[in-house]
Symmetry: C2
Subunit: 884 residues, 2 copies
């Protein structure tokens, strides 16, 4: 099938132009650098013998020549382009510039990577006052022909001849106003004819020369425009900021335009090779006879199902169905295709991997394994882990109509509908009465936990992906939209304002924690469902993954959920989450506000039995699986009340005057609490706090061991270590407490959550038996970014591409990841069997899990509801590592 465009005698000239089509293919998908991204993809389709509209590519080497030679072209380029054109005419059976059957061309830029600031596309090259008539007559549609023509003039005038875009739009607007029309589609053939004339006049006036009627001149003008667009100031700035070398250059793709609206032997359509909703293995698509591509989408005519084509155009249908099978074989995945039939001849305009629901994705993957199309490994790699959220949480029906009020961060997946409530106490009461509530807060704090528990979903106007609201909601498996900057919550006025709307308590909203949408009223939901395909795939995943998966859990419910979803231990039990229970918070506050060690110990003695009981319950459920318990971490003032009523109550309970309580609270104030008196620092300055906790933990482990006969796999974890000496002192404290009671098993280790701890991991490992990376805090300190305050610049940073993704959601491998790598290496050098895991929010993020597999962690720990996602992501990571 192949022939060569440049059949010239030796010395063989340099090849500048690469052709593709049905009987010619001079490139493939691997040649992005030479042919640009778009060109390489078209060549690939041609290579696997899909009937693509023929075309040719001026390679990036032409661009290099152009800039090295003062904007001129190689001598033989004209010859090569003409040869390319001739090939197009032959394949299509139309002639460029011909008055009767004019061949039309599209001209596109194509660099290795898509780049804003460059010319995109000029369509319909080849139309002029003569050929437009030809197009009108053989398409039988004059309006269509003149609409095509005016589009060419408009694009060409703007891009090639530098006539301001607005001027063209002004002419169209004036025409519509004068004729009482509102939409462009209301303009008829006469209208477009008149507008074409005005466009030509405009160009003559603004550019000082006429719109070129010569097709060749049009073509070269467009090619010139592409090459020139490589050096516009916008493109140059973009390249500088993104480190794209100037010498990459751009390619130019020239392709024939084909028409599905030239008669009843023409058609156009779209299809999926399998059903994208259910995953069923059946051809699924629609088409329209004698129509353009946009007609299928526009909805003016109702498209027909593909099964009709089998009857009306059986030959073409057979071809299309054969292509369907070819495509699935070649790409080994379900494809989304666009096609056009011009005079009975089928052209594939596009094929790409088809979008599908999570259910469909699982079914397609599992069935393709059974069909022998792909391996189990392929199937595992094909499912986006986060899509499993659709199996685990209610989701909004994609077909449902909805009024979006505002958007926030997609902080915890799933959707929920409920009435607006601003106060956690109200949320609890309304929920107890059977109401469904969305708790709306500027931000949440540990004092709001009961309200969050009662609510169906949580909405905050401040805070990021690892804000309190986000972390707690993910832990509870509840939908959360966080940091919705356009939402103004006014507690006093009891209103939620957003984009001009004012809502009051009792008004219904729906939040979508997977997209960040805040929607007015109720919306139809799809309920989660764990299918047989899901179970099959998860089993396959468990068989290949190396990383263990644990969960972050404190409560009985957390731990049970974690086990249900397949967790293999608890990687992080945050003891402070146990402090807010009403039965103990007062003692906690007494402990914090104590002025002497005696006062503090007295309060701690009251807390100890509660803590012991908490741990006993947890150890029972986990039944011998490892449990990592972190000693107290947060700044103490987080536990103190802020509202005057609560402070008065506290003062009464403590038998202290209110202003004394205020004074003590104020003394605990910190300028930057994240970097203040917390973590190991608490344990060093107030050893009695950690001593009490350690005693409660060890005694609970003893109790459960006696009860069940099984040893608790206990790991006691010290937070916020920055030096080996701190670890020495606190390890000595733990050992001292252990020595004072009955012998039991435990190991002591540390969070690695400060850059210094990572750099000094070799030394710290001399004392610590395990590391758990606290990548939330490590990200905060490595970047110097507080997750609570990042909202003021993070959107700008993501928009401008400074951060490819939120570094609190997906680990920054270059910086934070580098520290993780250093710490793992240094830690293992000191203690070859050191256990290394991660318990930050990144533990449930697939991209991060890929990195953790690469650096060889032993386990990741995440919210219970993310355990299935982590299992799948870990399997993918293991497979990808094996491949690399």
């Amino acid at each position: 099938m192949m022939k060569n465009l440049n059949a010239k005698p030796a010395p063989r000239p340099q090849k500048w132009v690469y052709g593709f089509g049905q009987d010619l293919c001079e490139g493939d998908t691997s040649q992005r650098n030479l042919l640009g991204g778009k060109g390489a993809n078209l060549a690939e389709m041609s290579r696997i013998e899909l009937p693509v509209p023929p075309g040719f590519i001026l390679s990036t080497e032409v661009c290099t020549f152009f800039y090295q030679n003062d904007s001129s072209y190689p001598d033989d380029i004209k010859f090569q382009v003409d040869a390319g054109l001739k090939h197009l005419e032959e394949e299509i059976g139309m002639l460029f510039g011909d008055g009767k059957k004019p061949l039309l061309l599209s001209v596109r830029s194509g660099a290795r990577v898509s780049m804003p600031g460059m010319m995109d596309t000029i369509l319909n090259i080849g139309l002029n006052d003569t050929t437009v008539a030809g197009l009108a007559s053989f398409s039988g549609n004059e309006r269509f022909a003149f609409d095509c023509y005016r589009r060419l003039i408009q694009m060409y005038g703007d891009v090639v001849m530098n006539v301001e875009h607005d001027h063209f739009e002004d002419i169209i607007d004036t025409y519509k106003r004068r004729n009482g029309l509102s939409l462009d589609t209301d303009i008829n053939a006469v209208g477009w004819k008149e507008i074409v004339e005005q466009f030509k006049t405009l160009i003559q006036k603004e550019a000082g020369k006429p719109f070129p009627q010569n097709s060749q001149e049009q073509l070269w003008g467009a090619v010139n425009a592409v090459f020139n667009s490589w050096m516009t100031p916008r493109a140059i700035t973009y390249r500088r900021i993104n480190d794209i070398p100037e010498d990459w250059g751009t390619a130019v793709t020239v392709q024939a335009v084909v028409f599905g609206n030239m008669g009843d032997d023409c058609a156009t359509g779209v299809a999926f090779t399998r059903n994208p909703s259910t995953g069923e293995n059946a051809f699924y698509g629609e088409f329209l006879v004698n129509a353009q591509g946009e007609d299928v989408v526009a909805g003016i005519r109702t498209p027909l199902p593909l099964s009709d084509m089998k009857k009306t155009m059986p030959d073409v249908y057979e071809k299309l169905n054969a292509i369907r099978l070819t495509l699935e074989k070649h790409y080994t995945d379900m494809q989304d295709i666009e096609f056009t039939i011009q005079n009975k001849k089928l052209y594939m305009l596009q094929t790409r991997t088809g979008k599908r629901t999570a259910h469909a994705a699982l079914r397609i993957a599992v069935e393709m394994v059974k069909e022998g199309l792909i391996t189990k490994e392929d199937a595992i790699l094909r499912i986006p882990p986060t899509s499993l959220d659709q199996m685990l949480h209610p989701t909004i029906d994609p077909k449902a109509a909805k009024t979006i009020l505002a958007r926030g961060l997609p902080a915890s997946p799933g959707s929920a509908t409920g009435t607006i409530t601003f106060n956690p106490d109200d949320a609890e009461k309304l929920s107890a009465d059977g109401g469904k509530v969305i708790l709306c807060r500027t931000e949440t704090s540990p004092e709001d936990i009961h309200g969050m528990h009662a609510a169906k979903g949580i909405l905050t106007s401040r805070g990021g992906m690892t804000s309190h609201a986000a972390v707690v909601a993910r832990g509870m498996g509840k939908p959360c939209v966080a940091g919705a900057g356009d939402v103004i919550i006014d507690y006093k006025a009891q209103t939620l304002q957003t984009n001009g709307k004012i809502l009051n308590p009792g008004d219904k909203i729906t939040i979508d924690g997977s997209t960040g949408e805040i929607i007015l009223g109720e919306v139809n939901m799809l309920q989660p469902e764990m299918t047989e395909h899901f179970s099959t795939l998860m089993q396959w995943a468990d068989n290949v993954r190396r990383l263990k998966i644990r969960a972050n859990a404190e409560t009985v419910l957390d731990a049970e959920t974690a086990l249900k979803f397949g967790a293999e231990g608890i990687g992080l039990c945050r003891t402070e989450h146990m402090f807010f229970d009403p039965a103990r918070i007062l003692h906690v506050r007494q402990m914090i506000l104590a002025e002497t060690k005696e006062e503090r110990c007295a309060a701690l003695n009251k807390i100890e039995p509660f803590q012991r009981e908490d741990f006993i319950k947890l150890f029972r459920i986990m039944n011998g699986l490892p449990v990592t318990i972190r000693l107290l971490d947060p700044p103490l003032h987080e536990f103190l009340p802020h509202e005057s009523g609560e402070i008065q109550e506290l003062a009464r309970a403590l038998s202290l005057p209110v202003d004394k309580v205020h004074q003590r609270i104020n003394r605990l104030h910190e300028a930057n609490p994240m970097l203040g008196m917390r973590g190991a620092r608490l344990g060093i300055v107030y050893p009695e706090i950690y001593e009490t906790q350690v005693r409660a933990i060890l005694e609970a482990a003893l109790t459960v061991k006696k009860e069940t006969g099984n040893t608790v796999a206990l790991e006691i974890m010290v937070p916020l270590i920055s030096t080996k000496k701190e670890m020495n002192i606190l390890k000595a404290l733990i050992d001292k407490v252990a020595a004072s009671i009955e012998k039991t098993n435990y190991i002591a280790g540390t969070m690695i959550e400060l850059p210094r701890a990572a750099l000094q991991a070799g030394a710290i490992a001399e004392t610590a038996a395990f590391f758990s990376f606290g990548t939330n805090d490590l990200t905060q300190t490595t970047f110097g970014i507080s997750r609570d305050d990042a909202g003021s610049f993070l959107p700008d940073y993501q928009m401008r591409g400074i951060f490819a993704s939120d570094p609190f959601a997906s680990i920054d491998t270059d910086g934070v990841g580098e520290l993780v790598k250093i710490a793992v290496e240094q830690g293992r050098k000191t203690r070859s069997d050191i256990k290394v895991g991660i318990c930050g929010e990144h533990g449930g993020d697939p991209a991060s899990i890929l990195f953790f597999e690469k650096v060889g962690l032993d386990y990741v720990s995440c919210s219970p509801y993310r355990v299935p996602i982590a299992r799948l992501a870990a399997a993918q990571a293991a497979l990808l590592k094996k491949k690399s």
Copy 2:
């Protein structure tokens, strides 16, 4: 002179005991591991033929044997110890356990490093009911003899026989009460005799056996006690925390006690080999005939100058003077010595490098070079750089009496006296009327600058070595005591309370910023004086240093001071310091509270001429030396008013309702401002701010170039970069502004003050032409410690040895330093000629400068007043690097 203690036939037994004295020396200062620190030092004195009281050392190998053999000793140890004892008796001419001339011994522990938890010293071993009478008769002082005896019983009973220390003190107290005495010195011979009897009864009762009368038993009891003290729980815990291996063990030093109070041919004294106040090369000391060492210090008798000894004991004086010369030759430094003369025989009890004033240190160093004793390099290395503060600031007369009220951190050197003032406005007024004021604040903020300027010194009750008060005071060269936790400042009550005292405005205090002392009332001061010796030494230092020294300076006064002290450029000009001037602060606030870009630009346009004028003045003074200007860095809310009066004023000026202003201020609130919207983030989100600053800088440089013909060596610095992309964007911004005005020279670089920037320095250097380490912020983020909040645990951390020094005062080489090292290496790999400096507070700290020389920075930048210190420290660093 040497003889061997263990002259036994072959096979040569292991040597366990090492002797020293006038005619024996079996060790030197290099043998710390074998002999312990104390033993090795005594051996060294013996080695250079100083007449030390003879003694012997049981080596650390004995300790190892002791623990490996169930607390028993090697067979031949008794023989070796007896030989050692015999040598002592011969040298001293007294006999151990003798009734007439009893030899007394001291027994001391001595590990490689000094270690709390171990036995220290038992004195007067050898005294019993018989020998005490001998001591009384030949010393002619019965009270002295029994005082020595009761001390032995007391120490021995406590340390060896485990009788509680308090019991002994109770007996003494009871005796004094019963006899109406108040001081121990009031007790006479009869009294001590009675107490001795009671002590013996106490021991019999508590220990169940009598105090041993046998001298040998006493000696071995004491030796046992030393070895046992190696394994006390306190010593074990200390070693675990400080990573000291158990197997190092301790040595035991046994030494003869000599007496200067046994007649008129006895004496005791202290001396310096040169004058420690002035540095004059003259023997300088005092002595007392027939006296004990403590009598010289006690002040009951007035000691005589050494010149008197020349007359009364000419032979001994000659020997002493000869020793003086020997010592200076051996140690090549001025020595502080203690000596005792027992029956005309001179014993050196101690020699150590003598403490001296900074003036004396300079004179001694410079003169010793001229005398050929040391080289210029030695002289440079010998002066502690921070001692130069005495040349640069007024200091408290060390002889002055003073009542210390409290202590804080020595935050900015020098001393000042003034009246207490709590309010910066009052400070300004009082000062304008000629008053001297100490500004006392809980902490300072940029709004207090005018008051700080007006005050003679600054005292704060909160904040650390790099708090606002500390940094600004050092920059101004004003004394500051910061973070005085015991001081409670109550603005409302207008009182300063500390340790029970209440002071009011107008009360006088003195602060010593070099020691952290807060002193009641006025204290005599020494005024600074730059001597000829100072100039000589600084010249020598400049000739050897490699590091350039720059200053952190914003004002004309800063810059002039910096130049006067020898700065070679400005390493950090903090543009925000220029924002607080009353003429512009309102525009700054307008800029911050703007809600649209237009409002913000309007305010910026008003600020721009001020900024330009500031830079013009600075460039003029610096006259071609490099000037690094940092673009706006701090969180914007630092510029906003906090008091309601000021907020009302601002509201009036902005024509906004007060609650609207409150609202806007609240919206800028951040949970952790240190990690919030600041630095480069401001420049990315509000590019107009940086554009205005860059324009003002470049136009100022152009103006000064036109004026003087000299190009300004301009370096524009972007703060708080964490990714290369940020630098790309802001470098593009700077270049764009530069392209819009007349061409001028500049380079653009960045602070490296975040761990991620250090790790990514290689990439950042592709865009940044220079790095300046902001080690204040880098320390905060690497450790996760806010300098404003560290006060709650830093004292504990230093006390427990977790931090050897405040990491904000002296760079943490293991963590923060590691990042600096990585960044320098990576940066140079990308851009071999990249200019690298440091502008954090560590730039003026000698220990840190040593590190910066090691990693090869190009310059350090510090407060103007620390420039001489940095010059000297840089010279020392260069010399030490050459040596290593």
